[in-house]
């Protein structure tokens, strides 16, 4: 089971290296683009002295944007060496190397000491993590008290059975998503407070439209991503073919939301 979770995470980080994702998501690699990232920044209570963690930072677009906008320091972690190298190049070109740093790191095992960060940001990455409770505990641990987790992610308006989720093969964003109530319950049970939610579902429709326009259908798009990310020999068995996208969309009725949670004092 553990190995499967690991393989899933590796696979999903690999898929984001594919230029196909760039075609429908743009450089930020998440729905909503930089406009939504701008909103994330506004809600993160950032100052020049802030230290920010960006979980699954991709190509570092958010990290560079926040560092430039607020003058804060941002650490981005990701599992993909290729994306991290792109992120470092961008930082260098933007002359932000003293403000942003990028490291290999796993959202479920944050390599940082307790109460270090003034904000934690996660854009369309929480849904991809197989063990969400562990990840949430880790976020709470590294946040300073009174500081915020600001995340944007896929949420479900319907329910997906466990069978359907596992049939999806790996923790794709939709198969791994929860309802808004479930997200709130998860974080509040782990001691977060003062939740705040904004609906940005239109951003997800725009992504879906791009996929249809560019590749003919969502299935065709996903099929090409899989093909591109597949390591031909060892991972073949780890990925179930034929993810039931139609059913995932139909039953899950996914939307996209921005959520804020605060680590309470004391």
């Amino acid at each position: 089971m553990k190995d499967k979770a690991k393989a899933d995470k590796q696979f999903s980080s690999k898929t984001y290296e594919s230029p196909l994702f760039n075609t429908i998501l743009g450089d930020t690699l998440h729905p909503g683009g930089l406009s939504l990232t701008e909103r994330v920044g506004e809600l993160s209570q950032l100052e020049e002295s802030s230290l920010v963690l960006d979980i699954a930072c991709g190509k570092g677009v958010t990290a560079c944007f926040l560092a430039r906008q607020y003058g804060c320091h941002v650490i981005g972690i990701d599992l993909s060496a290729e994306l991290l190298s792109l992120a470092r190049n961008t930082a260098q070109r933007e002359r932000l190397s003293d403000k942003v740093e990028f490291f290999t790191g796993d959202g479920e095992r944050l390599p940082y000491k307790d109460s270090l960060f003034d904000a934690v940001i996660s854009e369309c990455s929480f849904s991809l993590l197989p063990n969400k409770s562990v990840a949430a505990v880790e976020i709470r641990r590294v946040l300073k008290t009174g500081s915020r987790l600001v995340m944007t992610d896929v949420f479900l308006r319907g329910q997906l059975s466990e069978g359907l989720r596992s049939q999806a093969g790996f923790a794709s964003c939709i198969a791994g998503a929860k309802t808004i109530d479930e997200y709130i319950k998860l974080f509040e049970e782990l001691g977060f407070s003062r939740h705040y939610v904004e609906d940005h579902s239109e951003a997800l429709m725009k992504v879906a439209y791009q996929a249809v326009v560019t590749y003919g259908s969502w299935e065709a798009f996903a099929g090409q991503v899989w093909e591109a990310a597949r390591n031909p020999v060892e991972q073949k068995d780890a990925i179930a073919e034929g993810t039931p996208w139609k059913v995932l969309f139909k039953e899950g009725r996914p939307g996209y939301a921005l959520l804020v949670f605060t680590k309470p004092d004391g």
């Binding site: 230029p19 930020t28 930089l34 792109l86 070109r93 003919g216 996914p254």
Partner: protein, 460 residues
């Protein structure tokens, strides 16, 4: 208070000489200022509202799709068009004039058709022109234009020939009158694979057509669209926008188009430019600039279409055009699928996306013109669902785009060099659209029969 937005080069409206120009902001609007040593100074409004002008910025340029430069650079831009080695914009679409004849004589025609009744190219000349396109830019989308292409009975042969030579997308720029009256002809066009009808469509009432085209044409336009629906050929509505003539119908045109989906695939606005049959010195009030169209769209659709849905072309000529894409939802609302990112990603154009802007446009033109039959059993019973959205994204979409052409008053040679719409000539050249149709204030064409007019004095 004046602020300069940078230097460029332009042309003297009188003698077509290349002269220095400056983009300046005055009272929040953008003007092109230029001075000819012989004919004096000129100031032309190019953009109302400088904020959007700055935000749209200048895009990337990519010329890798230009396979061969057909003319050398001798006199400099814009006197060497062919394309010459200094041209930066790769071809998105090539226009081919298949006839100079037209059965109308519209006051607003940019091609000055019907004024020149010389022989039209025969099939072998057409083949030669197709070959010129292939040599210079490969099998890009082709628009057959004129004149009025449908005056030719052998237009189906011209399309068949292009398809045979490897052109995937061939569209017809037409007033649509023959398509309305002659179904058999339309059927033949469909049979040989005509991909799209680029239909002049200036408004939704006859008074508009009486002004722009000199006749009551609205009913015929409706008939043409109905016939295209019958034969499953997509239509783009192309309104020429003229201040105080049809700019009050911009919202009505959008509502009309919504009612014609899926046969109507998009609306392409052409704010009037002053060449061809429109000599004289246009004043600011004669100009509809890009932000004027966008604002009017928002106001006249009561916010269903919004300014921030629109994105510039991702090219050197980022101030040349605009586009937005919508899906018509079951509740009759247009769902925007595009929006302008005010903030540029630092990675934009870093080469991570393999497709160049022109490749993107070429593919888009081809894909979005297809007449996709609605898959009725899927999602139709479930309004608002993802199944329905995915289905409608393939069938019930609408593009809203536009491009005011540059005329001798507004022409910016930097933008001209980034131009991606080219006209193929019988003289084995590809000439950027705005250079091809450009004429001086007295009506003298810059390019005539493939050559720079002998009247043009190149100073500078």
């Amino acid at each position: 208070m004046e602020e300069s937005l940078g230097e460029t080069l332009s042309l003297c409206p009188q003698c077509l000489a290349r002269i220095p120009a400056r983009k300046v902001v005055e009272d929040g609007d953008v003007y092109l200022d230029k001075h000819c040593p012989v004919h004096g100074s000129f100031r032309t409004l190019i953009w109302r509202g400088d904020r959007l002008y700055r935000e749209w910025g200048s895009g990337e340029v990519n010329s890798k799709l230009i396979k061969r430069r057909l003319t050398p650079t001798v006199s400099g831009c814009p006197y060497d068009c062919g394309l010459c080695p200094n041209h930066k914009g790769e071809t998105c679409t090539t226009l081919m004039e298949v006839t100079g004849r037209c059965d109308m004589s519209c006051p607003v025609c940019f091609a000055s058709s019907n004024s020149n009744l010389k022989d039209e190219p025969g099939l072998s000349e057409v083949e030669e022109m197709y070959r010129t396109i292939l040599e210079a830019s490969g099998p890009c989308p082709v628009q057959l234009s004129g004149g009025e292409p449908t005056v030719r009975d052998d237009l189906p042969d011209i399309i068949a020939l292009g398809k045979e030579m490897g052109f995937k997308h061939i569209q017809i720029n037409t007033h649509g009158l023959r398509l309305a009256r002659d179904k058999e002809y339309l059927h033949r066009l469909r049979e040989v694979g005509a991909d799209l009808i680029y239909l002049q469509f200036d408004g939704i009432s006859n008074d508009v057509y009486r002004y722009t085209r000199g006749a009551n044409l609205f009913k015929l336009k409706l008939q043409a669209i109905e016939n295209c629906a019958e034969f499953r050929i997509g239509v783009i509505l192309v309104p020429t926008l003229i201040p105080n003539i049809n700019d009050h119908q911009i919202g009505d045109i959008v509502r009309f188009a919504k009612g014609q989906i899926p046969v109507v695939k998009g609306i392409h606005f052409q704010p009037i430019s002053y060449f061809g049959r429109y000599p004289g010195t246009p004043v600011n009030e004669d100009r509809i600039t890009i932000p004027d169209v966008l604002k009017t769209l928002e106001v006249q659709t009561e916010g269903e279409v919004k300014m921030n849905h629109f994105v510039p072309r991702r090219r050197k000529d980022s101030h040349c055009g605009f586009s937005a894409f919508y899906v018509l939802m079951e509740d009759g609302r247009l769902q925007s699928t595009t929006n302008f990112e005010r903030r540029q990603s630092p990675l934009a154009g870093s080469g991570f996306v393999k497709e160049s802007p022109a490749e993107h446009v070429r593919r888009f033109i081809h894909e979005r013109a297809k007449f996709v039959e609605s898959d009725a059993q899927e999602g139709e019973n479930n309004p608002g669902s993802w199944e329905s959205f995915f289905n409608r994204a393939r069938t019930h979409y609408l593009s809203i785009s536009g491009m005011p052409f540059q005329d001798v008053w507004t022409v910016d040679l930097e933008r001209l060099q980034g131009c991606c719409i080219h006209v193929v000539t019988q003289y084995k050249k590809l000439i950027p659209f705005c250079a091809f149709y450009l004429s001086s204030a007295s009506g003298e064409r810059l390019y005539y029969e493939g050559k720079v007019s002998s009247q043009v004095a190149y100073v500078s």
